[in-house]
């Protein structure tokens, strides 16, 4: 059940991101990119299911004694953390750039900006 919900949420996120990406408004494009990267992050999280812990998959458990709780794949979480930080930085940069484009061109409409820069 969760798998279905997650899958459809992912689908909706990707679709929304792509839709926004194709809009004429620059700000919407940035939103689209943000949503897309968010979708990718969610997708990454879904990869790691809850598994029996072992020192093979989770090396830190080797020094954890006998009783280890069930864990998700920690690697995936680490990856998502990194990816979130990166996409956060990129979004910030894209927003600043959008502001700058607005300052220079006084418009955020892609058709007015023209195709070939």
């Amino acid at each position: 059940m969760t798998a279905f919900v997650l899958a459809s949420v992912l689908g909706i996120l990707f679709a929304a991101g792509t839709f926004l990406l194709l809009r004429r408004d620059l700000l919407r494009v940035v939103w689209g990119v943000t949503i897309l990267s968010q979708a990718a992050n969610v997708y990454l999280v879904t990869i790691g299911g809850i598994v029996e812990p072992s020192a093979d998959s989770v090396p830190v458990l080797a020094g954890h004694g006998e009783h280890a709780p069930h864990t998700t794949d920690p690697l995936v979480q680490a990856l998502v953390l990194t990816a979130i930080v990166i996409s956060f930085a990129m979004t910030a940069f894209a927003l600043v750039l959008t502001y700058r484009v607005y300052q220079e061109h006084h418009t955020l409409d892609l058709t007015t900006l023209g195709g070939e820069p």
Binding site: I47, T82, M90, P117
Partner: protein, 518 residues
């Protein structure tokens, strides 16, 4: 890498005192080159040469982050070192003090850091991270001047690459879930024997195709080429030299590394008309060939119609990337390991030539621009009589691009033709000849318009900057030196190509056992 990182910190710390900052920055670049030289010696030329690995944090290979310096990485790194140093020294003379004052030098080193990280990492996810490090600094450079066309070019560039990053992230995540590892050596080992590890090969094909699209985007192969000209025209010229000469090669490096070393082991029967072979590589051979064909033609024609020096060179680098990919495509499509090796060898030598020649050309364009004040072909003319040295540099680099002996380009072209002949790829051969014709056409056009003919008023009032001229002359000398003393370069590239093909050695170097010798 550590050196580049130190340079970032050092240049950040001294941003108020420009003189110190420049001195530190140049020293950092030289130290970087020295480190690369040490790596090259250690990995390729020393009597006990072997790939060097470093496990970050001391965790053993499949878990920890691995840095691998084998001959392939070393080859790419040495390219970075040469072009990077030249571009940095050049930019000291090219950029105005105001432009250099705050962030230029730290960012430059950040770019170097990202590129070398991407070349050295042995881990798929870290490849993504280093790509981002590299891209983030290049975004800033594309938007550097902050005027109308720059912001617009930067916006395209940023959005495209962000989408590329998302796709890459998805592909990497998928590969992780399919193969259960992110370490490239481990992945190669598992993919060589998919049944034993319970891997569905079909999923790998799809995911690696996604990754392939991303790398083609970074390399600027044709359906993904549209960001190249505007971004290159917008960035400061020394940085463009680095972008065209080196950053693009990261995409190619990733293709070579992943598709020859990692995915190449996967056996899969391909049943596309006109494509034979039982390896994943054969599929990519066909795809890459189509992309390369389009790149050569579009790039060449674009260069013929561009109106500025930078425009010509930007389109020309699209076409040259096509040239570099052709041997890779031919090699991938064939099934004999000997041709694989030769193909990678040809591509590497050609890539080296392109890095040197295109770096020189962009820097020469920078010299023209800062001396004359414009780089529009319409306003140029007679530079040859005004500054013979500059014209000579352009002449040498253009000839290297065309592939005239005894310059470095000749060997690149020779090897590429050799691969095409041996693999009996008739169409590839015809394409190479046609592409070379286009190269001759657009370099001649630039030469006739800008360097010969009567001097325009702007040109006769100009005098090129000494430091800039010295750098481009040194680079041109490099081209000649590579061409004349080609033997060690050949051995180096040969070692790099073997390293790219020899999956078993790569797996062993990382410290995993069970790699099959290829």
């Amino acid at each position: 890498m550590l050196v580049a990182l130190l340079s970032i910190v050092a240049t950040l710390g001294t941003r108020r005192r420009l003189g110190t900052q420049i001195a530190l920055s140049v020293a950092g670049a030289l130290a970087y080159a020295g480190t690369v030289l040490a790596i090259v010696w250690r990995v390729v030329f020393s009597p006990t040469a072997s790939a060097a690995t470093y496990q970050l944090g001391g965790w053993p290979a499949p878990f920890g982050i691995t840095l691998v310096a084998d001959a392939l990485s070393a080859f790419m790194l040495s390219m970075v070192a040469v072009v990077g140093c030249a571009a940095l020294v050049f930019s000291v003379g090219y950029m105005t003090p105001d432009e250099q004052r705050v962030f230029y030098h730290p960012l430059f080193h950040c770019l170097l850091l990202g590129v070398s990280g991407a070349f050295l990492t042995g881990d798929l996810f870290n490849l993504f991270v280093w790509f981002e490090v590299m891209l983030l600094s290049s975004y800033v450079f594309v938007a550097f001047y902050g005027r109308k066309k720059h912001t617009r070019a930067a916006f395209w560039y940023v959005v495209l690459n962000l989408v590329g990053s998302v796709v890459m992230l998805v592909a990497i995540g998928g590969l992780y879930s399919v193969t259960g590892t992110l370490n490239m050596a481990d992945m190669a080992r598992r993919l060589a024997d998919p049944a034993a590890f319970g891997i569905g090969v079909e999923a790998v094909v799809g995911l690696s195709a996604l990754l392939f699209a991303v790398f083609a985007l970074k390399a600027g192969l044709v359906p993904f080429q549209f960001w190249v000209p505007s971004a290159y025209r917008a960035a400061p010229l020394p940085v463009t030299a680095l972008l065209a000469g080196v950053t693009k090669k990261v995409g190619l490096y990733a293709i070579v590394r992943l598709y020859f070393t990692v995915f190449g082991a996967t056996r899969l029967s391909v049943s596309i008309p006109g494509v034979g072979g039982d390896s994943l590589l054969a599929f990519y051979g066909a795809v890459l060939f189509a992309l390369a064909t389009a790149s050569v033609l579009v790039g060449g024609l674009g260069a013929l119609s561009a109106g500025e020096l930078e425009g010509v060179f930007a389109y020309s680098s699209i076409s040259q990337i096509g040239f570099i990919s052709i041997p890779l495509a031919i090699g991938a499509a064939s099934s004999t390991p000997a041709i694989h090796r030769l193909a990678v060898l040809a591509a590497l030598v050609y890539a080296l030539n392109h890095a040197l020649a295109k770096g020189t050309l962009f820097l020469a364009a920078g010299t023209v621009r800062s001396a004359v004040g414009t780089s529009r072909l319409r306003d140029l003319g007679g530079i040859a009589s005004r500054s013979p040295a500059l014209a000579g540099v352009f002449f040498v680099a253009a000839l290297a691009l065309v592939g005239i002996p005894p310059l470095s380009g000749f060997f690149g072209k020779l090897l590429v033709f050799d691969v095409a002949l041996r693999a009996e790829a008739t169409f590839g051969l015809a394409l190479l000849l046609g592409g070379t014709g286009l190269t001759i056409a657009y370099t001649t056009r630039v030469w006739n318009r800008a360097f010969w003919g009567t001097q325009t008023p702007a040109v006769s009032a100009s005098s090129p900057n000494r430091l800039q001229l010295a750098v481009v002359v040194a680079l041109a000398a490099c081209i000649v030196a590579v061409g004349l003393g080609f033997d060690p370069i050949y051995r180096f590239a040969d070692a790099a190509a073997s390293a790219a093909i020899d999956r078993g050695a790569y797996v062993d170097a990382v410290g995993l056992t069970g790699g099959e010798g290829a």
